[in-house]
């Protein structure tokens, strides 16, 4: 056990901190809004230009070949400096790991740098109106044609779909197949003929989702990821691997916990005395996640199977995020309900906005009910039924 950072890691941290403190933009409007989106893109391009967009990627794709520990350090520093949610995150965190593992060299070269540079924005196309938690029940289909596939059907809850250029998702390519079989992982151009995108606003009123309709849109063979019919296996292969970590780094939650402590210091004289303990509890939530991640990452470095850790992590971060924000809202009391546009909104309304975002945590990426089933069945070995 050695919990000190190497000189190289410390140097990496110092460099990241210095650059981020100098460059992180303040008070950007929300990413999911008309006015905020171009400013976020600009920030992504700046990150990429200085090789901070995808630190763990190969240099040829714009990265720094950072170790996983360095990646954790970067994340800590990014959120410590107040960096905004990443506009490229669905690409670099959800799709890229699969492209690295299953893409051809040609696909990697064509897709990854443009994704990291925010020249091409990706959205996911997992859910369908009838397929939420039960992903394997999807029915959007890909019909085999000369040189490619024609798509029919509908995807929904495509995060930031209206701002995106491309969509990745599973399509039923074998019409006789059922459940997990006969699905193909396709990369779809949202500007192509036969694709239409309809915005769906989120709880907080921002334009966060899209529905995407396919009416015979064509996808060439070069945009199949992995083997046709193997989509399920390919999509699942990267959940629970080291990449399972990437979307929810401890840095983000620790930064929120530290902001909560700041908030407590401002309200300590007037707030309910019991909130003192709640703030402490929130910090221990974030600290537990940080320390758990260190252990997990060590197992990854040892090439040990990480297994269903990702389900435990998902439960922990999603429920912690709700508690963190609930505590903040209780601290600010009657100011909690104010919209960001209110002159007296605390911290620009970020806590209510953050709460609404946090509430999606237990729902997306596999509801927490599903995660608890997974833990019970795969880790504890309880019978499926």
């Amino acid at each position: 056990m050695d919990l000190t950072y190497t000189a190289q890691e410390e140097a990496f941290r110092a460099e990241a901190r210095a650059w981020l403190e100098a460059h992180v933009p303040r008070d950007l409007p929300p990413l999911d809004s008309e006015e905020g989106f171009p400013l976020h893109l600009e920030w992504e391009k700046k990150l990429f230009a200085e090789r901070w967009a995808v630190v763990s990627w190969p240099r040829e794709y714009g990265g720094r070949e950072a170790s996983i520990i360095e990646w954790l350090i970067f994340e800590e520093e990014y959120y410590r400096a107040g960096g905004p949610q990443r506009a490229t995150q669905n690409g670099i965190f959800l799709l890229a790991p699969t492209v690295f593992d299953f893409g051809t060299r040609e696909q990697q070269e064509r897709i990854l740098p443009r994704m990291a540079a925010a020249e091409e924005l990706w959205c996911q196309g997992w859910s369908e109106p009838g397929s939420g938690s039960d992903l394997a029940s999807l029915s959007s289909r890909a019909e085999r044609v000369e040189g490619g596939w024609r798509l029919h059907g509908q995807k929904t809850w495509c995060t930031r779909g209206t701002f995106s250029d491309k969509l990745f998702g599973l399509f039923r390519s074998d019409p006789d197949s059922e459940r997990h079989r006969g699905l193909t992982y396709l990369l779809v151009d949202l500007k192509a003929e036969g694709v239409s995108v309809r915005p769906v606003d989120k709880l907080d009123g921002d334009e966060g989702f899209a529905e995407v309709f396919f009416d015979g849109a064509f996808v060439p063979d070069e945009d199949v990821l992995g083997e046709p019919g193997e989509g399920w296996r390919i999509a699942m292969a990267t959940t629970g691997s080291e990449r399972g970590l990437t979307l929810r780094s401890p840095g983000r939650f620790m930064a929120t916990a530290l902001r909560l402590i700041e908030l407590y210091r401002r309200y300590r004289e007037t707030c309910d005395p019991r909130l003192r303990e709640r703030v402490v509890q929130a910090w221990t939530d974030a600290e537990a996640y940080r320390v758990y991640t260190l252990e997990s990452v060590t197992r990854i470095m040892d090439d040990a199977p990480v297994g269903s850790d990702s389900s435990l992590m998902k439960l922990h971060w999603s429920e912690m995020d709700v508690r963190l924000h609930e505590t903040a809202l209780e601290l600010i009391g009657p100011h909690a309900e104010l919209d960001g546009t209110a002159p007296e909104a605390v911290d620009g309304g970020r806590w209510m906005k953050g709460y609404q975002f946090a509430l999606s945590g237990p729902i997306y990426a596999g509801t927490n009910e599903i995660q608890r089933n997974v833990i019970a069945e795969r880790i504890l070995g309880l019978p499926r039924r």
Binding site: S127, G130, S131, G132, S133, D134, S137, T156, W157, V200, D201, K202, L203, D204, G205, F209, D272, R274, L275, V322, E330, G333, P334, H335, A336, E337, L338, D339, T341, A342, P343, E344, A345, M352, L359, S360, P362, I363, Y364, T367, N368, E369, R372
Partner: protein
């Protein structure tokens, strides 16, 4: 000992529920939130016609002369429908306060309230905000132990938009003066305490209705939505969340009626009972909001689906007139010190 509403009270509730089902569907609520006033055009007049707006206005002033107990079921329905009208502040709280203040103030304003022609904004501790200032004809504002009555011209109101689009909140600045003073001293203190209890209780009643509406909608959705080859409502995890939501509601609901009774009869337990009701109704609504969203999944998170209207209204009313922590802290003083 008889813990039940009267047949008459039930019938009034049903009538209001029926009217709101027609006049205040979710689409109308959503539209109201986006509108300038936050209201559904024409609905206030219909409520006045029905007698709801003037429920607490004495008969001599054109109202029904009823009391807080008669409000309970009606405010539950208002909550259930997420009614975007100033029923709580103007009708359930300001009207009885004006009666108690009496004199010119009562004579001038009560008939107008009953007729649906006047909206009253209230500025009461511990809330820093004044709701409805954009449309108020009269402001009743607290300064220490005093109550002051002011015209819209005598206050400066700065909008403080809430996530609840129908609760138009404002920071109101004003100067107390002898001319504006309506009550002071011991009398002022007592009236303010009673008024706060009425307001908190009214919010609690609405929260019970909101919670129930969110639960009912979730139950309906869980019966229809299928995943993994069955209705999600057949999964034990969903069942248990919804059962817990019902449990919270059912053990808050009678507390609201109980507090209304002790308020009307001015039992010495009045404030204790109101705080108990408001604390538990707030908790119930906040829990139901989370449960409803979780059982709906992504659809509940979309702006097009109306669940968020109920959720935001719950967040707002749970905070209004003392949140659960404020009321439990008041309870602690009453019970423990």
């Amino acid at each position: 000992m008889r813990f039940a509403f009267s047949e008459e009270q039930r019938l009034f509730q049903e009538a209001l529920a029926g009217m709101l089902a027609e006049q205040c569907p979710p689409e109308a609520v959503a539209e109201a939130w986006n509108g300038d006033s936050g209201r559904i055009p024409g609905l206030w007049a219909k409520l006045a016609e029905m007698g709801v707006v003037g429920l607490s206005v004495p008969e001599a002033h054109g109202g029904l002369g009823l009391d807080q107990l008669d409000w309970v079921l009606l405010l539950q329905e208002a909550g259930r429908a997420a009614l975007p009208e100033p029923l709580l502040e103007t009708s359930a709280v300001a009207a009885p306060l004006l009666s108690e203040l009496g004199g010119e103030l009562a004579n001038e304003w009560l008939p107008r309230i009953a007729a649906g022609e006047a909206v009253v904004a209230l500025g009461l501790d511990p809330a820093p905000w004044v709701a409805d200032a954009h449309e108020a004809d009269l402001f009743l504002l607290q300064a220490g132990d005093e109550i002051h009555a002011l015209s819209p011209q005598e206050v400066r109101a700065t909008a403080q938009p809430s996530v609840d689009g129908a609760r138009r909140l404002f920071r109101v600045e004003w100067e107390p003066s002898e001319r504006t003073r309506a009550a002071a001293g011991e009398g002022g203190r007592e009236l303010l305490a009673l008024t706060l209890d009425r307001a908190a209780l009214g919010a609690a009643a609405q929260l019970v209705g909101l919670a129930r509406a969110m639960l009912d909608r979730s139950v309906d959705y869980a019966k229809k939505r299928e995943q993994f080859g069955q209705a999600i409502g057949a999964f034990q995890a969903v069942k248990h969340q919804l059962s817990d939501a019902l449990l919270q509601i059912e053990f808050a609901r009678p507390l609201v009626a109980h507090a209304a009774y002790t308020l009307v009869h001015d039992w010495y337990t009045r404030s204790r009972d109101v705080s108990t009701a408001k604390a538990r109704a707030s908790d119930a609504a906040l829990q139901c909001a989370k449960t409803a969203l979780q059982c709906h999944g992504a659809i509940g998170y979309s702006f097009e689906y109306p669940l968020h209207l109920w959720m935001k209204r719950s967040w707002s009313l749970a905070a209004a007139h003392g949140d659960a922590a404020w009321h439990r802290s008041r309870l602690a003083k009453l019970l423990l010190d």
